[in-house]
Symmetry: C2
Subunit: 460 residues, 2 copies
Amino acid sequence: MKLRVLVIVMFAMFSLPVAVHAQTSDADDVKLIFDEALRNGKSYEWLRYLTTQIGPRLSGSAGAAEAVNWAKTEMQNIADTVWLQPVMVPHWIRGSEEDAYIKGSNKKRNVAVNVCALGGSVGTGSGGITAKVIEVKSIEELSQLGSHRIKGNIVFFNRPMDVTQPRTFDAYMGAVDQRAMGPSAAARHGAVGVIVRSMGLNAEDYPHTGALRYEPDAPKIPAIAISTRHADLLSQSLKEDNGLQFYFETHCEMLSDVQSYNVIAELKGSEYPEQIIVVGGHLDSWDLGDGAHDDGAGCVQSMEVLRIYRGLGLSPKHTVRVVLFMNEENGLNGGREYALQAEQRKEQHIAAIEADEGGFTPRGFSMTASPEFRNKVIGWKPALEPYGLTDFSREGGGADIGPLSKFNIPLIGYMPDSQRYFDYHHTKEDTFDKISKRELDMGAGCMAALIGLIDKHGVN
Amino acid sequence: MKLRVLVIVMFAMFSLPVAVHAQTSDADDVKLIFDEALRNGKSYEWLRYLTTQIGPRLSGSAGAAEAVNWAKTEMQNIADTVWLQPVMVPHWIRGSEEDAYIKGSNKKRNVAVNVCALGGSVGTGSGGITAKVIEVKSIEELSQLGSHRIKGNIVFFNRPMDVTQPRTFDAYMGAVDQRAMGPSAAARHGAVGVIVRSMGLNAEDYPHTGALRYEPDAPKIPAIAISTRHADLLSQSLKEDNGLQFYFETHCEMLSDVQSYNVIAELKGSEYPEQIIVVGGHLDSWDLGDGAHDDGAGCVQSMEVLRIYRGLGLSPKHTVRVVLFMNEENGLNGGREYALQAEQRKEQHIAAIEADEGGFTPRGFSMTASPEFRNKVIGWKPALEPYGLTDFSREGGGADIGPLSKFNIPLIGYMPDSQRYFDYHHTKEDTFDKISKRELDMGAGCMAALIGLIDKHGVN
């Protein structure tokens, strides 16, 4: 990076004799970047537009197409080159609103509950499904019950996320198998539908969507998420009413694949233009909210990395390439296509960074990388720690950059604080008003600072 | 602490031969406490009541009195003893709503701007004040201009908080002298009123109140805060219009002092009952919001420390005493009275912890303590770090516990993340909906965990 030159010049204005010999420290470089992000950051206004003017951006939707055009236009102001990389994506639609209620036996009243179809689910169609409910806490418990107990019933996966996990993603990883694998597991045992407890940590009134994964050899049965509060209600009702039935109706369906795009922009490296550092997030979102934290934040923070270079009048030594991936939520086709094209074109990637854990205050970076690279980043800790970056211990890069693992390069995930993420994740609550401008700017600063350090010191 | 016994028993259920010889680790103890806070925490529901049912609690107000009674009643369920400690407090009232506008010269229209009286300010009374405006960036600049430029005018202190400070409290400390000292400094030069740029980091439409400090020998002139957005507007307008005047009208006044109380509750120590660990926050708040982050959060987190002991069926070895201080915002009389009484009764305090930086995700603890004590806490880092507590480097305890410094004991401040604090601080936006249940519970866990470790290992 050419930060060195600028800092010397700035410093020289005050103290020439010392300055001309000065070597800028990593701490100085990092501060320069954060100062620019915090003073002149554009992330927040970009995100305001993306979420409130464009809105939800599920793959194949009009919103996704609009977001592609918007991002391309915006990045033309901050990049040397911008282009669209075609990728075919699934086109699942929710259809008209879901309807669900608990049907008590013995003339008890129906109780409406808040549900949403899981992404990728088949719909029930008009008339819906009505059946008895078998509650289980795991796929294992489902198997133990066996087909004679499950057949013809709705399976209700109700294992809560573990609230005692300090990092909420760990709680998510410990529960999300129910949503992803539960529907096919239940279908194999003859279930007619699946209800999954929402992936949320609080007592909430709204459901969390997210993708299920139908296995090719299992029947496709309709599946919904139910709000955590109504999951508790349903569980309690099942204890009190042996004859209880559950009704739900969904109108979702999978249409034909659609042409879409990864949006790519780069600043050409001044010394090693053929060596590429990727930074990105995913441009698609679920359909219920505006995708502010997931992952509008990661997109605008990635764009902001280029803007910071431009704002400071600096050029990176290596090429810095922003990739806004399409279709992370229900396919990962964008991530796969990007890696495929990189391979076919024999591009030389040296590192990839993804931001896809929300626009919250900084905590650290996770890494799938060699011990040597991890230690290198840990060596930068004195410069990064003042900005809240203290945790470099975790494994993981990001879903979209995962396919780049074949290049055997460091894959890095920006890791913000996780406490609030699952209040919003995949729900109608994931909207712009949940964004703190400063937290968003700080996150952009983190991404730019790490890229600056990689650009300065290399990856080896 | 008696955590040891319980953990051994729990562990013994699975693995008796090892367990009976097991010594519980600090990490086990800390986890036990956080698990209880995260599973069964009451902070959030307490805070919901305090903020939405009682509301603002400025010293001397009906809300403050109601909060005293509520806290006393609630703590009777979780403490061995609860009592009220009388303290006289100032009773400042805002009166009817403030009114202010920029009066352009040459028949330009008046432009209404958002302001609020600073706490403790005298009012303008009906008719308000109209005068020309002198903008300065500091008290020093004011002095350089001198009385001949200032006399008869309104002084506008417009130095923004430094957005590049990663920790927002540092930005606050770098700007708040304008609010605290500006009015008397301006009055000495003959100013007729003072406008202070709100202590906020963003472009906001609402003003931030907070206490001014009239010096005894300076005239008392009315002082207001103006929203950051309108501060920028006023500054721009001054550049464009030489004849500009400013009008504001406030109806605040200082009434006679009122009898109020610190609310105190304790769990008696099982081994060293005479040795007291204090944990607290301040029960009073400014009048504009509901005091959710400042400092309802610190109060309910302190209460939760006792509830966690009760919930786990544990007794501390030392006495753990919750103090909900009255009048931190505009006097500190509660903190002073508590320390005075402690001295007169020859109580033996061994440590004091305050939470007064909002109910945000954990970052660390600040300390005014010996290097030995600080190192002791740093030695506990492996147990605390998984919960986000990584920063033990900063100086400072808390305003209310400050007067306990005469006992030469460690004074400790719970230090949550600071990024969002000044979005809400002293404004109408400091309301319950800005609270994350998990962040609040995590903070309570931090306080309880540190007290648990101090109780287990002592302070020396």
